[in-house]
């Protein structure tokens, strides 16, 4: 045990003495958080919209004017029917189509309510939600104005939102769970595979092997400090996103911790697996970036919705641990789900963890070859 403690101590020395790398390890997650955070929170600026006005009365005219004068939207065209929408979206310039139902003003006066349909191009989910929420809020303001003028109390304008191309629109909050997954993958897999191959490259692995230390001990000893760092990183990101970006955290913190540790173990096993194959730090880095980080970013649903991908890529995404971790994290953070609802994904992650641990320990060598 004392041997093991000393081994970890030595690893801690390595990490703290190389203060530049340590700084990078701690700062990168925070920088990423702000980059992703603000990249997604960009203000709308003159997004082009089209209007289908089946009513053509003074209220629909006023609402249209409000939208355009807000500065967020620019009128691209009035169109006549819904068949043209898809064509407009495919051209790419129009982000949203506002459709007023027939007899809008009349209905509002008689029945006290009327509806507007907002159709958004959600191929970019973030812009999709942004335009509809801006539009809805302008309409709401107008409705309050109407009510306060007391022309007709309790009028109700109902914006119905419809997303094209990506009906199950993902929340903009998605980047935080995704970022946590990315950071855990980065630190756990990339850093451990690099630190283990560094011992190989320097030749000190030879001396470590010619000692009574078991290879498993060598690996675990090298990995423990990185578990701590990556867990610390995920907590930082979580805290900052709650404090600065007001991301909700509905679920149990305990479950979050448990699932994070499970994912860290999976990532570590992958990192160890890479280190048993790679013989140089450079090779380890290329394998981690290409084999782990890219799929985590692209196929987990972190940035691009998996549902929009070709079938082959969708199947491939089932093999990405981060995909399941993301579903779990979103469940916990945004929907407040517990283990009762998330046991399936947790089980998949657990099986993956055990599977990767099994192969990486099998591949651990007690000799140089």
């Amino acid at each position: 045990m004392r041997t093991f403690a000393n081994f970890i101590l030595k690893e801690v020395y390595h990490i703290t003495r190389d203060w530049r790398s340590l700084l990078v390890l701690i700062c990168i997650p925070i920088i990423q958080l702000f980059l992703f955070g603000y990249a997604i929170r960009t203000e709308l600026n003159e997004a082009e919209i089209a209007v289908i006005d089946h009513s053509k009365d003074y209220i629909t005219q006023e609402i249209t004017n409000k939208l355009i004068s807000s500065g967020y939207f620019k009128l691209n065209a009035y169109i006549e029917n819904e068949n043209q929408i898809e064509h407009l979206f495919k051209n790419g310039s129009v982000k949203e189509v506002v459709i007023f139902e027939p007899h809008f003003a009349k209905k509002l006066e008689k029945e006290g309510k009327a509806s507007i349909m907002l159709v958004a191009d959600a191929s970019n989910p973030n812009i999709g939600t942004l335009v509809t929420s801006y539009t809805s809020s302008i309409i709401r303001t107008y409705q309050l104005e109407l009510n306060s003028k007391a022309i007709k109390a309790n009028t109700l304008i109902i914006p119905e939102v419809k997303m094209l191309f990506n009906p199950e629109l993902k929340s903009v909050y998605m980047f935080v769970p995704g970022l946590i997954a990315l950071i855990l993958m980065l630190v756990s897999a990339l850093m451990t595979s690099i630190t283990i191959t560094r011992e190989k490259e320097m030749g000190s692995m030879e001396v470590l092997l010619v000692s009574p230390l078991k290879p498993q001990m060598i690996i675990i000893g090298k990995v423990v400090p990185y578990v701590v760092i990556s867990f610390f990183n995920s907590l930082t990101v979580l805290a900052l996103s709650i404090l600065i970006f007001k991301i909700p955290f509905e679920g149990s913190f305990l479950l979050f911790t448990f699932e994070s540790v499970l994912f860290i173990i999976t990532a570590l096993a992958l990192g160890i697996l890479i280190s048993t194959i790679a013989n140089s730090q450079l090779a380890a880095m290329m394998m981690s970036l290409g084999g782990l980080l890219m799929p985590t970013v692209l196929l987990s649903g972190f940035i691009y919705p998996v549902e929009n991908m070709p079938l082959v890529l969708q199947w491939l995404s089932y093999l990405i641990p981060a995909k399941w971790f993301l579903i779990i994290l979103k469940g916990i953070m945004l929907k407040g789900l517990g283990i009762e609802q998330l046991w399936k994904e947790t089980l998949i992650l657990l099986v993956m963890a055990l599977f990767y641990i099994a192969i990486s320990t099998r591949k651990l060598k007690i000799r140089l070859e």
Partner: protein, 307 residues
């Protein structure tokens, strides 16, 4: 008992044979040297002896234990200093030593007496990082780290490569003292002048042993007359001697040229006259005693002829 017993040891890397059917014994308490150029197979052999590689054929027993079956026992009782420098450059002298002590389940204090002679020389710098030590001091630290768990056998792979001449001499003095304490030492080196300091040496070339004996006996086996030629026109002299009808071998040796002749009765003046006739006027030809390197060269040549 033999500290090391090796029989028919062979190792391939794919198609390439790294070592070929090596057999030798190292006695208890012996300082045994492997002399040979880079790529001769010394490192491969040492890695098999230290349980790091598996041989394809033959067996090796260390301290009476098999290197394959009993690797766990052996890893507790062998001290190994690999050729590539294997300390942690970002740890201090003391931290390195403490770390290597701890992975062998011991402490610096417990075995301080073993390394005292060597360690006192670097102890004033114990707070300094290993990366900032001079080559000679790094080597002393590495030796201390390899000794801290009281090994019965010390395996040193080219410990003096890249170290200055003074540190090399000091290092060999340390090895002599360790030998006096009863530790068996196997060491490899590309430097022929260090061979003379070993009890016995094995000359190794292309994965095969050329000879095993004490340095004096190996030199004594050299029967030919050896001439040393010194001249400022070294290049031309080598070329001329290569074309001399009676030559056996010509090779540069430091600043001079070593030459052997096919005849047994000839005068050094014959050689000098020949060189002068080729336009090399200022040259000095003297007969000298052969060194290990000369033996090595001649054995190598014989081996090449056999093949």
């Amino acid at each position: 008992m033999n500290a090391v017993e090796v029989n028919g040891l062979t190792k391939y890397y794919g198609e390439k044979k790294a070592i070929l059917s090596l057999s030798f014994n190292v006695n208890d308490g012996e300082l045994f040297g492997f002399i040979g150029p880079d790529g001769a197979g010394k490192t491969t052999l040492f890695r098999i002896l230290t349980t790091l590689l598996l041989p394809n054929e033959g067996y090796a027993r260390i301290l009476g234990k098999d290197v394959i079956k009993d690797f766990k026992f052996l890893r507790n009782h062998i001290g190994y200093m690999p050729g590539r420098f294997s300390l942690y450059m970002d740890l201090t002298v003391e931290e390195n030593l403490r770390f290597f002590a701890s992975i062998f389940n011991t402490t610096i204090e417990e075995n301080y007496h073993l390394i005292k002679d060597i360690y006192v020389q670097i102890e004033p710098f114990k707070k300094r990082r290993a990366g900032n030590l001079s080559g000679g001091m790094k080597q002393k630290l590495a030796l201390s780290c390899a000794l801290i768990h009281k090994p019965q056998l010390l395996v040193l792979d080219e410990p003096t490569t890249g170290v200055d001449a003074v540190s090399r001499r000091e290092f060999w003095e340390m090895l002599q003292r360790l030998k006096e304490q009863g530790i068996t030492i196997i060491v490899s080196t590309p430097y022929m002048d260090e061979a003379i300091l070993c009890d016995r040496i094995a000359l190794i070339q292309n994965g095969s042993l050329l000879d095993i004996d004490s340095p004096n006996d190996i030199v004594a086996k050299y029967k030919k007359r050896l001439l040393s030629v010194e001249t400022s026109l070294k290049h031309l002299a080598i070329k001329s001697l290569e074309n001399y009808e009676h030559k056996v071998s010509v090779y540069p040796f430091g600043d001079s040229i070593h030459y052997t002749d096919i005849r047994n009765n000839f005068e050094t003046a014959d050689i000098k006259d020949y060189l002068v006739s080729k336009g090399i006027v200022d040259c000095k030809v003297v007969e000298i005693e052969a060194g290990i390197e000369d033996v090595f060269m001649s054995l190598m040549k014989e081996r090449e002829h056999e093949q």
